[in-house]
Symmetry: C2
Subunit: 242 residues, 2 copies
């Protein structure tokens, strides 16, 4: 199978970096192909703007959805976006691997969502959730969290981790049709002994072995969570603001 790892950490010697090494080794040993989009190393630009496109749909009014629709139709995304879009299409599994910052991914990963998962390429025209573009593909979050797990339990100070990850799981991965797997979260690696870190790396290796047969999380589906506006497509061509 083909695995894309969208990876964001500045320091190769970090525990995040160690998890990446384990993942690529383990997946290759099992006969899979692995590509890593190492966002910091690539100098990936996370700002969605006119430079996302080599042609302009409307030079007088920048509307990102209109430009993305135009670029999907005409093949005029910037090369850095095309490369990532081709990788997602190639992948059977996409792992988004990064530390948890401000209850979310770092900006460099958020910008990957903003720029790569473009309208008409990754969603639109009724294709989302169960009818999503990437249905049949799997996705999971691999996260290192600075705080211990206790803080992310329901009723405690940060609230449940599933609340924290809701926008990423439902609003990004589920939205574009991925089967979303349980996240792999390392809690406070900073506080682990060497032995605990080795056990954690082994645990990640085991998780990845089971990744093809694991039951996806029971997230949103259009059957259980109907679209109240079924049949209407809100992602229509923009009218000008006055």
């Amino acid at each position: 199978m083909n695995v894309l790892i969208v990876y964001a950490h500045q320091e190769p010697k970090s525990f995040c970096g160690a998890l990446l090494v384990v993942a690529t080794e383990a997946l290759k040993e099992d006969g899979h192909e692995v590509k890593v989009s190492d966002l910091y190393a690539m100098g990936f630009n996370p700002v969605c703007d006119r430079w996302d496109f080599t042609e302009t749909a409307d030079p007088d009014y920048f509307k990102v959805q209109k430009e993305q629709t135009h670029a999907t139709a005409g093949g005029s995304f910037a090369p850095d976006i095309v490369r990532e879009q081709e990788r997602v299409q190639w992948a059977d599994l996409v792992i988004f691997h990064q530390p948890l910052w401000w209850f979310s991914v770092p900006a460099i990963t958020k910008g990957w969502f903003d720029r790569v998962l473009a309208l008409d390429f990754a969603y639109g025209r009724g294709r989302w959730f169960d009818r999503g573009v990437f249905r049949g593909k799997r996705a999971m979050l691999t996260i290192t969290a600075g705080a211990p797990e206790q803080r992310y339990q329901e009723g405690h100070i940060f609230g449940g981790i599933e609340r924290v990850l809701y926008p990423l799981h439902v609003g990004v991965l589920n939205f574009v049709g991925f089967d979303v797997l349980e996240p792999f979260i390392t809690w406070a690696p900073i506080q682990m002994s060497i032995e605990e870190r080795e056990a954690e790396l082994q645990s990640y290796r085991s998780r990845l072995e089971g990744v093809w047969t694991a039951e996806p999380l029971p997230f949103h589906s259009l059957k259980r969570h109907p679209d109240p506006l079924e049949g209407l497509n809100s992602y229509v061509a923009p009218r000008r603001s006055s």
Copy 2:
């Protein structure tokens, strides 16, 4: 009072841009001082990395929390971060104003959180939530959403909007101690008539008039949501990964 608007939209002629004009005009008419950090116009760099700092705490191992602590102590943040940090300190109210992308803020705004709200400057050493650095200041989200409100109702396809905004409200604004006000959300401005847009702008103007007396949202507090690790500070100096 002093108001900082952290603004992210590429197109001044957008409805997002119209809301910004209304906000700055209305707040100034009421005698307040207003500063706008227009992130796209500034070319704000959202990538948190070594260039955040003019000095290095550890040239051999990049750990962002260690570098932020060092920079807070030594005054060695990069000038673009210093400018924003001074603006937050100056402000009595901070408005984060942007479209909703992927159930969150655009990467350029996420990077503002990642880089400006640095450890020891904006949190750390027991200062968070009720004991947060910015307690006494107010913050609110001003959002334009592409989809109509019905999609963001509990049980419907996107789930409740309060779920979507949880990481921003609790994990960012509440975390650093702001009193978090109800967000101002414009649903699907693309589908509004000119008259509806004018009414929406007027509604925003009214909301801003009441911003100083509005009751903050009942978010997390250390009293109601205890820290299970009270007294321990998980944000400690890093040990090296092996």
